[in-house]
Amino acid sequence: MIRKTILPLLALAYSFAAPAQAESGWHLLNMRQGVTEISRRIYDLHMLIFWVCVVIAVIVFAFMIWSLVVFRKSKGAVADTTLVHNTKVEIAWTVVPVLILVAMAVPAARTLVAIEDTRDTGLTIKVTGFQWGWHYDYLDDNVSFYSRLSRDADAARRLMSGVDPNTIPNYLLDVDHPLVVPAGVKVRLLLTGADVIHAWWMPDFGVKKDAIPGFVNEAWFQVDADKTGVYRGQCAELCGRDHAFMPIVVDVKSQEDFNAWLKREQNHG
């Protein structure tokens, strides 16, 4: 029954989806470089392993395609049934991949060591994931607040709400109270979960860490001093019904603006 209903639904869905679209997403093909040294190192690793795979793929696939084209029975190819074993070749294609892997593992391990270096942080924020939103607590500054999906997106995302998501700015990627941090400072996150496991993911920072109830996880990021702005991410661990609706927004301000913001929040609090 589902199959029978698909085609008309497809046509229907496409008819009202296509024209309303604000900007196309065809260009979104790759990982972003992000705004921290770690996120750029991750991007470089990603591109390195990607190109290693591409080169291997080209060689291996060319070899396969060559066989498929040249050794066809229809072209009169006769099988060489003596070709069953070649120790030298077999050793070579065992050892060469090992060397490539070692060459890959070295920069990966270096980056990993850098990611795990949580010393010398300037600001500590406790992040608690809950069903379904985030709570941020600036441990040394007596500031804390909840951060939930923005109201307009929350209305539009209801089943058959009739609201076109394309009319909502930053649909599903906007919150009522973003996390605010200073640029150029090493910010430490202490992550935990209130109910189930969530994961705090900020692609532009190269940070993804699980927020686990009963345990505290540690992560950090340091946004380049000149990269102030608003950055968006989402929960990355299935956490129940509204897992898709607990975005993460970080407003990165200059140190002065951050101090002013902190003072305002403390006065309000």
């Binding site: 589902i2 869905a13 997403g25 029975k73 049934t81 065992t94 892997l101 709400s161 860490k209 299935l238």
Partner: protein, 534 residues
């Protein structure tokens, strides 16, 4: 009356039971193999229909068709059905049909156990599917059942766990049968290193099953006691640890991934030589490669959970061990490729599916290698990049492997040839749509779309639409598969005993149509040598 029937039965030793008794009381490996395969096909279409619901909802942003909770139960059930209901029973079905034929045994070693292990499955999946109708709906915490989320499940929770126990019992019994058959029932002349590679791959798979299904059973039983009997294995408040579940689950889960794929390696290793008219290149290294992959599968589990916050040394260990898997897997791909080198190739449907396996499984292997790099994994984890990766290894990997096997041996099973033109249509539609379906998911994941979400930010619309169109095309194309098989079984042209001129192995030495009981006398050494020479 029952006694009377039984006596009459005994009088005709070679008598084939008719009607429903043939299937319910089945002890013949061919009948049980057929039941496994039909059951797997049924679950493939039910699980596929759920995938269609998922792709329909993801066709455009906003929620148009289903509630998020129902969406989550669709992703959860789709995975459970495809893994435990479609792929695993399909492999057991192929094992039932082929292993006795290929090792020169009259039947599986334990025929009644065989009957039992099959007939558990319909009950297990009736329970699993019925959870969609209980209060709270089906399981919606993902097939990985991570606590504490899975503990929030409604009435479906204990039902799912019971169903998993049943599936596990069925798998273990099936695996025992395969091991005993292979080790004890081989024809006297068939040494271990003369066994066909499909048999080797299943022997190793069966050991993996016996090793890890009890681990899954233990993990879900602990969930059950946490939920109902006040234990706190996975609850921090009582001294437990939710991450411990993930370690136990993936200690099962990673070997499970190879349980799904190793028999496909075996099938491809049968088909590529047959249609290259040339023996497999590096037979022994193929065996060692499967064994190495099986061993490594036990020491890489934590690569599924790099973001839980492991010690640096742990992350490094699991990164390196995971990267190592590329070595034996690479050896296999090189050996398959070299088997075609200087061959005499033709492209019948089994070969086409095997070739698509070779190319597309390799793509899944490459993305797997990328995922092993821990820092990069922090960006890939739980995104559509992962979804693309494991569907590349499971759909054009495991599923195409099953289809290749069915198209290869169907003429032997039915003694009829299927419509090869239609089968080529099935192949090309599947091969094209599977890429339209899954390739754009790499882009979505890299651009930042998390997995297991029913709704997404609008910039992901375009590639999601393409992916959904691919899904609908792929789903519809699969309807050809049962039609081709049905048409072949009913009205196919008679096939020769050696249906493919390049096919070697004991199964092709048997007459067509196959007698109900085969190899009642073990094949001679000469026949085994002929089969093994390729």
């Amino acid at each position: 009356m029952v006694d009377h029937a039984a006596t009459a039965h005994d009088a005709h030793h070679d008598h084939k039971p008719h009607g429903w008794r043939r299937w319910v009381y089945a002890t013949n490996h061919k009948d049980i193999g057929t039941m496994y395969l039909v059951f797997a096909g049924l679950m493939f279409f039910v699980g596929g229909a759920m995938a269609m619901v998922i792709r329909l909802e993801l066709f455009k942003p906003g929620l148009q068709f289903v509630d998020p909770q129902f969406f989550n139960s669709m992703t959860t059930m789709h995975a459970l059905l495809m893994i435990f209901g479609a792929v695993m029973p399909a492999w057991t079905g192929l094992a039932n049909w082929q292993i006795p034929l290929m090792v020169g045994a009259p039947d599986m070693a334990l025929p009644r156990l065989n009957n039992f292990s099959f007939w558990i499955l319909p009950f297990a999946f009736t329970i699993l599917l019925s959870t969609l109708f209980v209060p709270g709906g089906g399981p919606a915490g993902g097939w990985t059942l991570y606590p504490p989320l899975s503990l929030q499940g409604g009435d479906s929770f204990p039902m799912v766990i019971f169903a998993i126990h049943l599936m596990g019992a069925s798998s273990i019994l099936g695996a025992i049968n395969v091991i005993v058959t292979i080790l004890n029932m081989r024809a006297p002349g068939m040494g271990l290193l003369r066994m066909p590679l499909f048999v080797w791959s299943w022997l190793i798979t069966a050991y993996l099953l016996i090793a890890v299904m009890p681990v899954l059973a233990g993990a879900v039983t602990m969930l059950l006691t946490d939920h109902f009997f006040g234990t706190t294995f996975f609850t921090a408040a009582g001294g437990g640890d939710p991450v411990m579940f993930q370690h136990i689950f993936w200690f099962f889960g990673h070997p499970e991934v190879y349980i799904l794929i190793l028999p496909a390696f075996g099938i491809v290793s049968e088909i590529i030589p047959a249609f290259s008219r040339k023996p497999i290149f590096g037979y022994e290294t193929m065996v060692y490669a499967i064994a190495s992959i099986a061993f490594l599968s036990f020491i890489v589990w934590a690569h599924h959970m790099f973001t839980v916050g492991m010690p640096l040394a742990g992350q490094l260990f699991f990164m390196l061990s995971t990267m190592l898997i590329a070595v034996p897997t690479g050896v296999k791909v090189f050996n398959w490729s070299t088997t075609m080198w200087k061959g005499s190739l033709t492209f019948e449907p089994p070969m086409l599916f095997a070739l698509a396996f070779l190319f597309l499984f390799s793509i899944g292997g490459f993305s797997g290698l990328m995922l092993a790099i821990v820092p990069a994994d922090f960006q890939y984890q739980d995104t559509y990049f992962v979804v693309a990766h494991f569907h590349y290894v499971l759909v054009p990997g495991a599923i195409f492997g099953i289809m290749a096997g069915v198209y290869y041996w169907l003429p032997k099973w039915t003694s009829r040839m299927y419509d090869q033109t239609l089968a080529k249509w099935h192949f090309w539609l599947s091969a094209i749509f599977v890429n339209v379906l899954f390739f754009p998911q790499h882009f979505l994941g890299l651009a930042g779309m998390p997995r297991r979400i029913p709704d997404y930010a609008v910039q992901f619309t375009d590639w999601n639409m393409i992916s959904s169109i691919g899904a609908f095309g792929f789903g519809l194309s699969q309807l050809l598969f049962p039609y081709i098989i049905w048409k072949c079984a009913r009205a196919g042209q008679p096939a020769e005993a050696r249906a493919w001129d390049g096919a070697h192995g004991l199964e092709w030495e048997l007459p067509s149509p196959l007698p109900y009981h085969t190899w009642e006398t073990a094949p001679s050494d000469a026949l085994i040598a002929k089969g093994a020479e390729h």
